[in-house]
Structure formats: C-alpha cells, structure tokens
Amino acid sequence: MAHFLVILLDDKRFSAIKGTEIEEKVSNLFGGALKAINVEVPEDAEKKIMETFTSARIDSRGAITDVPIAFTRAIFEEIAAQKSIGAEIFENVFSKIEEIKEAAAKESSCLPPPDIDISDIEELQKHPYQGE
C-alpha cells in the first residue's frame, strides 16, 4: 500500500492553490473544520524520507508523520509552485534536501510559538479548583 503525507492547509495555504486542479484533491477533515491534501509518496521517495529523517514513522492511517516542519513546508511550496501533487515534486524537494536538513536541525531545539492571546486561560488558572 502506498503511504501518504498529509499537508494541512490553513487559509493562506488554501488560497495559494484555490482555483487550481489541486483544489479538487483537498479533503475536509473533522467535519470541514480542517482542510488537507493527502499526497501519495512514491516508494523511492518514502525510502529517502525514512533514511533522511530518523524521527519519521508511518501511523495507523498509513500516513508518514513526524517529519520536520521544514520538509512539509518545502513540499507545500513545491505543490503551490508546480500546481501538482505528482511524483516530480519529491524530486525537486530532494534536490534541496541539505538546506531542509539545516532548517530541520534548528527546529529540533526551537520553534516559534503561535501569536495567540491566552489571557482567558491565565484568568481561569488564577482560580484553581484543586490544591491547598
């Protein structure tokens, strides 16, 4: 069975592929709460992914997971540039794998947190139900 990579689409990413043929391949997850493209991974590309990223694994859905964010980001950029989810995108991504590995090494120690307001939970935590 061919395995696949799940590329999540936030609004910005979705707008980059909107109106192209890829839009038809977008699946709605969790009742439409999340959009994604499942990109089928050719066997040789899967082998390279597993060899390059030791954290990578295949989960119970058959999805290749735990790859660096820099890698999925590069895959999406290639999809958006080529307007395709075919095998050729992996060739192009692997041509700049050293650059991706460099970025991946940095993200194993530091990832910028999302800029969201968490004051509501900090307020809730001021009144814990448990404890002395």
């Binding site: 799940v6 997971t65 935590q125 814990p128 139900y129 448990q130």
Partner: protein
C-alpha cells in the same frame, strides 16, 4: 453481591507510609547512617542520556503508591517477581524495584548488611535505606525477564525486547550491585509548581474522594495533553459504576523522565486541569493527580502497576484502552485487556488479575477507541459507529504535527482552552514538546525541592 461497589482496600491490605514528618526525628534517623550516597540518574547504557531516577521510585514507595512494597527488593523477591509477578508475601506485583549502585560506588561506600545509608538528592538529605541484603544482577537478564519473550510468553509477546524499547533500556542500564532494604524519607520534600496542586498520595486521594462524596471513581491513565478523543473516553468510560455512573473521574498522570517529542509534564497536568476549569467536566467530578515513575511501557505488565497505584489511591475502576502503555509492537495490542479479562498464564495469571489469590480489586473497564465520524457528526465510539470508511482517527502523531505547524486545532480535536495551555508552556520553553534542553533541565531540577537539613 450487593447493590453498591465498595471502595477497595489498599493492595496488600494497608497503605505503606514511610515518610518522617518531624524534621528532628528525621535528623536523628539520618545520624545513624554509616554511609552517605548521592542519588544519581540512571544513564542509558549506550548513549549516556538519563533514562530513570530512582528517587521517583523512593517517593512512590514511601508515599504508598506502590503498597505493599516498602523498599528495594531482595534477591529472592526479585526472582519471584520475575517468575510469578508476586512478592514474597504473595501479593501480585509486576516490576522489580531495585536500588542499584556501581561497583566503584559500592567499594567506596563500604556498607555491610544491617547498615543504614543516607541518600542525598540534589545535595540534601532525602531518605535512608536500611540494608538487608547486597547482591548482584545481570542487568540484561533482568531487562529481558521483566518484559517477557516470544518463547516464554507466546500469548502476548510478539517480538524480542531490545534497545528500541525504553523500559527494557531502563533495566538494561542499571548498575550491577543491588542494595536491598526498606526506604524511609527523612526530609519531607515539597513538590514544585505546578505539580504541587496535583500531588495526591494515596491517603490524601482517598480522603479527597470521601470529602467529595465519591463512592465510585474511575481512573484515567495519561501521559498526554488531552485531546477531545481522550475527553470522550473519560466521559463515556465513566458511565460504568454500580447502579449509577462513577461519581468521580480521576486522572493520574505518570510524571517522570521524558522522551523527545512528548508533551512537557507541565502542559500535561495543566491541560487536564483545564478540562474542568473550562467546564467540559464539572470540577466537582474531576480530580487531576500525579504519580512519580519513569514509565517502563510494559503494556500488560505496566497495567498491573497502574491498577495497583490507582487501587491504592482508592479508585474502584480503571479504564484500559488498546495498546495501553505500549510502545512499538512488542506486545499484542490487546495484551492489557486480555490480562484483565481472562489472564495470561505464562505471566502467572491463569485467570483475570481480579480472580487470582492476592490479586487486585480495582475493576477494569476495557475500552475500544473513539474517532471522529463526519457521518454521525460526532466523536463516536468504535463499538457503535459503523461508518468505518469515513472515520477520522485521533492519531497522536497527526495532532502533534498540527501543533508543531502552529495551526490552531479545530474544536473537535482540541478544546481551545486546552490548546492554549500547550501554547502557554510553548512560550516558556520555546518549544511545544520536550526537546533535549527540556529533558536535560528536568532531570537536573526534578519535580521536588528539599528543605535544608543540617546533620
């Protein structure tokens, strides 16, 4: 059989409590020590990374989580546990509990049978061990026999344990000299925030259950920030009970050495707490607690320890899912549920662990899985929902990937408040999961602070 389920007695009949609360008495006891030993983390036998700290076992033993165990096991007890999963007093117990030191440390300590050793942690007096026996182990042999083999335990062991298994590595990395004897904490520690408000040792947990009027309590084992699938598991499993659903839902997080990619312990405990602070479960029905233990990932073997811990805390029920406390495919994914429903003879259980002499009283609630079904438009129980083609699983790695990409998860995956707890600790640690820096710092700081004690 009565209408109501009764709160089970502690495993072994009474709670072990070996904590000296009077500092003067603690000092007196410490002064009788013949030698002083600074507790060191157990380091991976190949990589040198910390994989365990025996202090967590001393805490859990002395506060009664592991009752009736009172200390580091003798040779005869170790052998019995490995062969039959029983202590010498007959009570079921799954894992070796050992105070191991190197040959070099043994030579410099110069201890003999009957001696008392003062154990220091982070440079301060912490506990004592009264040495009853000194013997040697072959760590590789103990590691393999702890988890079983496909040849000896063909019912559930599918492949030989090796260095990819974190529990096997813990035993394999132990030192060869074992000091056996009872532990006593002589300098009562304080849990560091945020762990302090989740510290409910068995006696306190039982008192809290009574205070809240809980007759029946179901426990949820965790080492994760709860996504909505976990929440549904807790809520639905709690419909069991006696003539009414369980009064209480107790979450017990195993806090210990972390692996890269796990969520930080702080986010795990506060994430669970947020489930009740944000009102998804009434706080009156929900209690978040911790137990200090470096997970061995022993699936059925680990489930026995989980059962013992939560029975000692006063729970009447324990939920067990598929692949309970598992990593890889070493065990059958239903091994825990098999153990609790019909037993595993090769591990010493010809019947369920509830039905063997000196077994456990806490009742298992074996659960299948929860998924999101777009057809039902709800989080569905796999035993009910027949839309198996449409189902969308709560894959842990998928959820972690989404978090790492900074995508705000939809409400059907994470409650927004729970996700914000992840972000809170992400802001602090500059990383959403445990990275090398977190793991290293955690093993230096540990979860407790000790008061000064001059001896």
């Amino acid at each position: 059989m009565g209408v109501f389920i009764e709160k089970p007695l502690p495993h072994g009949g009474r709670l072990v409590e070996r904590v000296v609360r009077d500092p003067e008495l603690g000092k007196k006891m410490a002064k009788m020590a013949k030698a002083v030993y600074d507790i060191k983390p157990t380091l991976h036998y190949e990589t040198g990374v910390p994989v365990r700290n025996v202090y967590r076992e001393i805490m859990s033993i002395c506060y009664g989580f592991f009752s009736p165990v009172e200390g580091s096991m003798t040779k005869a007890e170790l052998e019995r546990v490995l062969k039959e999963r029983r202590l010498l007093n007959e009570w079921v117990f799954p894992y070796p509990m050992l105070f191991d030191i190197s040959e070099e440390d043994y030579a410099s300590l110069g201890v003999e049978l009957g001696d008392r050793v003062l154990l220091r942690l982070k440079g301060k007096p912490f506990a004592i061990i009264d040495v009853e026996e000194i013997y040697r182990i072959d760590p590789a042999d103990v590691a393999t026999r702890t988890f079983g083999t496909p040849e000896d335990n063909p019912e559930v062991v599918q492949q030989a344990f090796d260095k990819k298994h974190p529990g096997w590595v813990i035993y394999r990395s132990m030192n060869p000299v074992i000091l056996a004897g009872k532990y006593t904490i002589i300098n009562e520690p304080k849990l560091r925030p945020p762990f302090d408000r989740f510290w409910y040792p068995p006696r306190k947990a039982r008192e809290e259950h009574v205070k809240r009027g809980w007759r029946t309590v179901i426990n949820h084992q965790t080492r994760n920030v709860p996504h909505v699938g976990h929440e549904m598991l807790m809520k639905n499993a709690a419909y069991t009970g006696d003539i009414e659903p369980c009064h209480g839902i107790q979450v017990n997080a195993i806090i210990g050495v972390k692996r890269r990619g796990d969520y930080p312990d702080e986010a795990i405990v506060e994430g669970h707490e947020m489930v009740h602070l944000a009102g998804y479960i009434k706080p009156e029905r929900h209690l978040v607690t911790i137990c200090l233990w470096d997970m061995r990932y022993g699936n059925p073997i680990e489930s026995l320890l989980h059962g013992i811990i939560r029975q000692n805390m006063g729970c009447t029920h324990h939920m067990f899912g598929r692949d309970h406390a598992a990593v890889g495919e070493y065990y059958d994914m239903y091994a825990t549920q098999i153990l609790w429903s019909k037993g595993i003879p090769s591990f010493g259980f010809p019947k369920s662990v509830n039905e063997v002499p000196y077994g456990l009283q806490i009742k298992a609630q074996n659960m299948a899985e929860f998924w999101y079904c777009p057809h039902c438009n709800e989080i569905a129980y796999s035993g009910c929902c027949n839309h198996t083609k449409e189902k969308q699983k709560f894959s842990g790695s998928f959820v972690r990937g989404m978090v790492a990409e900074g995508v705000f998860p939809p409400k059907v995956i994470f409650r927004p408040e729970v996700y914000k707890v992840i972000v809170k600790w992400w802001n602090k640690f500059e990383y959403p999961f445990c990275n090398e820096h977190y793991v290293q710092e955690k093993e230096e700081k540990l979860e407790i602070e000790l008061p000064d004690m001059e001896i």
